[in-house]
């Protein structure tokens, strides 16, 4: 709700956005190292997502032992309330969590980029309307509204993706618009306009190539935020109850009282660590990309 105008007109914010002083060399080297660490973890998660059989000893939907067993040689993390192998479930859950995050990220950044380009370049009433809309979305209480919408739409993974995308385009739209505002008066844009390029060409060609690094960082950061949000929603029981995701695993862990007994050590703890690790890997990749972007501008 607090307006863009204010943020833009504060000199400190301009300094913040443009960051005139490049980061130190050691910081950059560190950024590269953590970026690769993140990429490695993410690659591992992608392998789990698409080839769960590589790591999972059982089919996560099969009943393989007695329910609520402690870890043993056969089931290294024990079994859940249905007698399914928890370790296999953990691996199988990667797919839903990761895919939800990535799909939401791609959709929202795509929408956000289009809105940001149009709003920033065309200006006028289109800009006002679009920015009021983003302000509205940013001020609404995220989780309560998402809960409300999900209840009406019914629990499913597709609805979670839809609802998250409705919210997550606003942040990127704002950032991209700010970048467009600072580049739209650059000489090469004016030159293109003088040569007779139409707004679409300028937006899709010139401006897009200048906001592309920013959009890429946003995909990574929105993906990490979506994975966290998806886990919260599934944990509240708004995800597909038969689908395997880390959030639903925690939902069933809570439903069967696992965190009130010793079972939290092998049921709750590893599941949350998987979420943290995935979100962290995306965050590190985002940080690394951001640092590189700052240096190159």
């Amino acid at each position: 709700m607090t307006t863009q105008i204010q943020v833009d007109s504060t000199p400190h914010f301009r300094a913040l956005r443009e960051r005139p002083f490049p980061p130190k060399r050691t910081t950059l080297r560190l950024a590269r190292v953590v970026g690769w660490m993140g990429a490695f973890v993410l690659a591992l998660m992608l392998v789990f997502a698409f080839f769960p059989d590589v790591a999972a000893p059982y089919d996560a939907t099969e009943r393989v032992a007695l329910p609520l067993q402690k870890p043993s040689a056969e089931n290294i993390l024990g079994t859940n309330d249905l007698g399914q192998d928890l370790f296999s479930e953990l691996i199988a859950g990667t797919r839903a969590s990761l895919l939800t995050g990535l799909i939401v990220a791609v959709i929202s950044v795509l929408v956000g980029t289009i809105v940001g380009l149009v709003s920033g370049y065309l200006g006028g009433w289109i800009d006002s309307v679009l920015m009021r809309l983003t302000d509205l979305i940013l001020v609404l209480p995220f989780l309560p509204l998402v809960i409300l919408i999900s209840v009406y739409l019914g629990p499913s993974q597709r609805n979670i993706i839809l609802v998250l995308a409705i919210f997550f385009w606003a942040g990127p739209a704002r950032l991209i618009r700010a970048r467009v505002l600072s580049t739209r008066t650059d000489t090469y844009i004016e030159a293109a306009r003088a040569l007779g390029a139409n707004p679409l060409q300028i937006m899709a060609g010139h401006l897009w190539s200048s906001v592309r690094p920013l959009a890429l960082v946003q995909v990574v950061l929105v993906a990490s935020a979506s994975i966290l949000a998806e886990s919260s929603l599934s944990f509240l029981g708004l995800g597909d109850p038969s689908g395997k995701s880390w959030g639903t695993m925690l939902y069933f862990a809570r439903a069967s009282g696992a965190f009130l007994s010793d079972a939290w050590k092998w049921w709750v703890l590893p599941t949350g660590l998987m979420i943290t690790l995935t979100v962290l890997s995306l965050g590190l990749i985002g940080y690394s990309l951001e640092q590189r972007m700052v240096r190159s501008t």
Binding site: T2, L16, D135, L138, L143, V151, S224, A253, G272
Partner: protein, 325 residues
């Protein structure tokens, strides 16, 4: 004055849009809203009962008329009846009962997070690029990646069940103790949720403060102050911080909508008597009026906090005083 009235108009517009979402959402989703209201009982009710229900909720009237009725009821502070409490409790009653607990959690942890997060952010910004800065930054990155509700699910078995430092669930003990003991009891129940919420809000405050201070600490007036021989503490706290406060608060408020709702899940894990947990229970029983009321209350809270911050601006930034006074 024009600035304030324009902002007031914007807040009113946002509020109006939020209540409209509340109205149109249940009517937009595919399917008969009365089936949603009746829930699983719909097939057993029979046609006549369903029609009677439809008339009771005014769903047989045209949409525009329904909207008018809805607005009128809202203006009277009538949010409808909760389905869950069959004894006939209004949504406003239930909300009023739960709101103070949410306010206790959110208020305390927002202040704690702003103070500690900002302090760490300033420390980090003054040590840019060295071990302190990178250490704090990586700590915050890890913290930001942890799902807060999961942290609660790990802290409860350790601190509440095994070590028995804190009670499990609820926001007070059931025969409520008297006087001072009561305050201690409430504090013990609120402790873990507040710790977790503070940790959840802290990264935003840290990141925002650190970035704002970076920009400021490299500006010319800071260099001048240093050249004059102003002591370091004074440079950071007086010259730097007083200029950072406004942008920090502005950016913090932008993220408020995303942050504040997080209390919902935390209350659900702790079974704490707040609006969030109430919404979680309402999801299970498909209590739509209660859900909508909860959403509306969150929206109003965020708008109110935004207005309060805007009123604080002139105190934080003298440049704004002339414009508004």
């Amino acid at each position: 004055m024009t600035f304030l009235s324009r902002r007031a108009l914007e807040f009113l517009l946002t509020f109006f849009l939020a209540i409209s979402i509340n109205f149109f959402l249940p009517r937009m989703v595919p399917g008969d809203p009365i089936k949603l209201i009746a829930g699983n009982a719909a097939p057993q009710l029979g046609k006549e009962r369903l029609e009677a229900l439809r008339a009771q909720y005014g769903l047989d009237k045209p949409l525009s008329e329904q909207y008018g009725i809805y607005l009128k009821q809202l203006a009277r502070g009538d949010l409808g009846m909760s389905y869950r409490y069959s004894g006939g409790r209004t949504v406003v009653e239930v909300l009023g009962e739960n709101f103070r607990w949410t306010l206790l959690l959110v208020g305390t942890s927002l202040i704690l997070a702003l103070v500690t997060g900002s302090a760490l952010g300033i420390w980090s910004a003054t040590r840019r690029g060295d071990a302190v800065d990178l250490g704090l930054l990586s700590g915050v990155y890890v913290l930001r990646s942890i799902p807060p509700f999961w942290l609660a699910m790990v802290l409860i078995p350790v601190f509440a069940i095994q070590l028995r430092y804190f009670p499990v669930g609820d926001s007070y003990s059931v025969p409520r103790p008297e006087g001072w003991e009561n305050i201690k009891d409430v504090a013990r129940h609120a402790f873990l949720p507040i710790v977790i919420l503070t940790l959840a809000y802290l990264p935003t405050a840290f990141v925002v403060m650190r970035a704002a201070m970076f920009g400021i600490m490299e500006s010319d007036f800071i260099r001048t102050a240093r050249a004059k021989g102003v002591p370091n503490v004074s440079v950071v706290m007086k010259h730097g911080l007083s200029n950072a406060l406004l942008p920090v608060l502005t950016s913090f408020m932008v993220d408020l909508g995303q942050m504040l709702g997080g209390v919902t899940v935390i209350e659900a894990v702790f079974n704490y008597r707040g609006i969030g947990n109430m919404m979680f229970e309402a999801v299970k029983s498909r209590d739509y009026p209660l859900l909508q009321g909860g959403f509306l209350l969150f929206t109003v809270t965020i708008l109110a906090l935004n207005i309060i911050t805007e009123l604080l601006y002139p105190y934080l930034d003298p440049r704004l005083r002339r414009g508004t006074a």
